[in-house]
Amino acid sequence: VESPQSPKPATNLGPVPAPEQLDSIKAQLDLVLLALEALVGLGSEAMLEAAQKLGLADLMGDRVTLWRLRQASPLRKGQGRKKLDVDEARGLVLVSVHLAQQHQTRIREAVTLLETATAQNKPPHRVALLGDYLDAFNNFYEDRMTPDELPTPEHLRDLALKLLVDLVFYSQTGGTRRLWLALLERSR
């Protein structure tokens, strides 16, 4: 018989990462949220609302806390980087997946268009929705990430499209588990 659910939703995701894995996790989570922002124009209000709904107000109750959590990514510009703890990482996973599920239709539409464009050998940026997404992702990335780590435009495009496809999987029923396991595995 499984142990009863913890009252804290952010502690029920499974394996716990080692401290040294958290840096990678912070960066990955920030990128997932960046892709969501670029695709559906999410703002911090939507994220705070999702956190509220998920009972995570303790972890991210206001814009400043949220900003500091996002700022924890080692790819980010600026100083005052916060150390992300496991519960906060889990909280961001829950919020990301919740938002992906909320915007599943848009995500599926974008990936369907990407499949069609790829099958037709058409550059993705020629498709309106995908072009907007790629532009927004580029702009956000260049604005927020440290210039030392900036990838080439081609790499950035590939990264954006990969994150877009990943969002389809995160927007499904098992999205939370998939994202958490992917973060853990990738940080090893």
């Binding site: 499984e2 499904q172 098992g174």
Partner: protein
């Protein structure tokens, strides 16, 4: 602790993928937060993204469900990690490989789609939907990765019981016959034949060497029967070795499934060759019996002229009526022939001790039977053929003690001869499906000339028959 209850149909939907599962809940569910089930059958429908075109349909049983589920789930996770690698892939087990960022090929291993394709192309959205239905299933129930075999224990006792009964009978017969044998010992060779037949396994090596000598005596028959018994395996190996690569068809889940390729016409011919090496048929109907497979055959008429002379040849060879009875136990179960029950009865009468054969003929007066080989050869059906399949099922079929009605399954073969589906006729048949011994879906049988759909009848007395299934089924 593993007793089970009735079948539960489960269905999970996503925009492009639907999964239907027949599962049986295990009694261990009481110890779990979710019902623990054994998936017995599943059907998977993968629809094209745009909605136009036919869905790809995949059916299978428990044995193929678990590897498929694991392959898809593991691949999705590897895809999210960006480290898909294929070093440890086995061609017999389902696996996926990427075709660019948004396309994936699902290689089905032994499985085949309803059109006979061995590969399905999936877009990213379809793959996500596939994962979704599996997640839904996983969220609702806990599928068992191993089969539940509650009757296994009983079976072994049954076998031991049969062995013990056989030994008692052998001792009894020997005691009865021994004085007789002693008195006739000096009379001549013919008097030796009955005991020789009973002791056939003991004299096998000698008999084998005799078989190669010019005179075809009774020992030749029993040896040939032995060799014929081993033939199916070898035949299967050789018959199927080249096929997977030849027929590596693919179908796209986005539409336009490729039609399956028919097996090459010459392939059945080599399989008929072992037939000629099989022992000469003991009974007179042998000349008529080659016609019976032709009755069943739905295609390959070119085979018939090839086969006819081959079978006539052994028919004209000298016969002996004293073929080793020990070898006839299996053939008796095969006795009813496709052409008529009359021939089965005749054969039964010819063979003498035919309680079992008679029962078979009574049980299924309207059914076709095993491929109409002469009774002596019936134990060694053409390798890789439908007959061999039925023979295999017969060997495996252990009717549960509580079963009192015939179970009927429709076996569906793709055009290339692959078994693509096994459809239980009713709930009871579905319930017993995992115990029938019917081979795994995707198994390649090349029943050249056999029907594309056949009904397999598993009788509670241990008999197995088949008959043509209506194409509409």
């Amino acid at each position: 602790m593993t007793s089970t209850t009735l079948l539960t149909p489960l269905r999970y939907d996503s925009p492009t993928v639907t999964l239907e599962v027949s599962a049986r809940e295990a009694a261990v569910s009481q110890w779990s937060d979710k019902p623990v089930v054994q998936v017995l059958r599943y059907q998977l429908y993968i629809r094209p993204l745009g909605g136009e075109g036919d869905p790809v349909e995949l059916r299978g049983d428990r044995a193929s469900f678990v590897p498929l589920m694991e392959a898809v789930q593991a691949y999705i996770q590897a895809q999210l990690l960006g480290n898909v690698h294929g070093s440890d892939r086995l061609p017999s087990v389902p696996y996926l490989e990427p075709q660019g960022l948004t396309q994936h090929s699902l290689h089905l291993g032994h499985l085949r789609t309803s059109t006979g394709a061995s590969t399905i192309h999936l877009g990213a959205v379809q793959l996500a939907d596939f994962g979704e239905v599996l997640d839904q299933l996983d969220a609702a129930v806990r599928p068992l990765p191993v089969p539940l075999t509650p009757t296994r224990q009983r079976r072994s006792w049954k076998r031991w019981g049969a062995v013990a009964a056989g030994m008692v009978a052998a001792v009894g017969v020997t005691t009865t016959l021994w004085p007789n044998y002693q008195t006739r010992q000096g009379v001549g060779d013919t008097a030796l034949e009955a005991p020789t037949a009973e002791q056939a396994p003991a004299v096998m090596p000698d008999a084998e060497s005799e078989a190669r000598s010019p005179q075809p005596e009774t020992a030749t028959d029993s040896t040939a029967a032995d060799s014929a018994e081993t033939t199916p395996d070898a035949g299967n190996l050789t018959g199927e070795a080249a096929s997977p690569t030849e027929r590596d068809e693919t179908t796209s889940a986005a539409g336009s499934p490729n039609p399956p390729i028919n097996p090459a016409a010459p392939q059945p011919a080599p399989r008929s060759t072992p037939k000629t090496t099989a022992p000469a048929p003991a009974s007179t109907p042998s000349a008529a019996e080659p016609a019976a497979p032709a009755d069943e055959a739905t295609t390959t008429t070119p085979d018939t002229p090839d086969r006819a002379p081959e079978v006539q040849e052994p028919a004209s060879s000298p016969q002996t009526a004293t073929r080793a009875p020990a070898r006839e136990i299996a053939p008796h179960r095969n006795a009813p022939t496709a052409s008529s029950t009359e021939s089965a009865d005749t054969l039964a009468a010819n063979e003498g001790d035919t309680e079992e054969a008679g029962a078979t003929a009574e049980d299924s007066p309207e059914t076709f039977a095993l491929p109409t080989e002469p009774p002596n050869v019936a134990g060694a059906p053409e390798p890789g053929s439908l007959a061999a399949l039925v023979e295999m099922v017969r060997d495996r079929w252990q009717p549960p003690a509580d079963l009192n009605q015939t179970l009927i399954y429709t076996l569906v073969f793709a055009a290339d001869g692959t078994l693509v589906d096994v459809i239980p006729a009713d709930d009871l048949a579905a319930q017993y499906l995992d115990r029938t011994g019917i081979p795994e879906i995707g198994t390649e049988w090349r029943p050249s000339g056999d029907p594309q759909q056949v009904d397999l009848l598993l009788h509670p007395n241990g008999n197995v028959d088949f008959r043509d299934a209506a194409p509409a089924q």
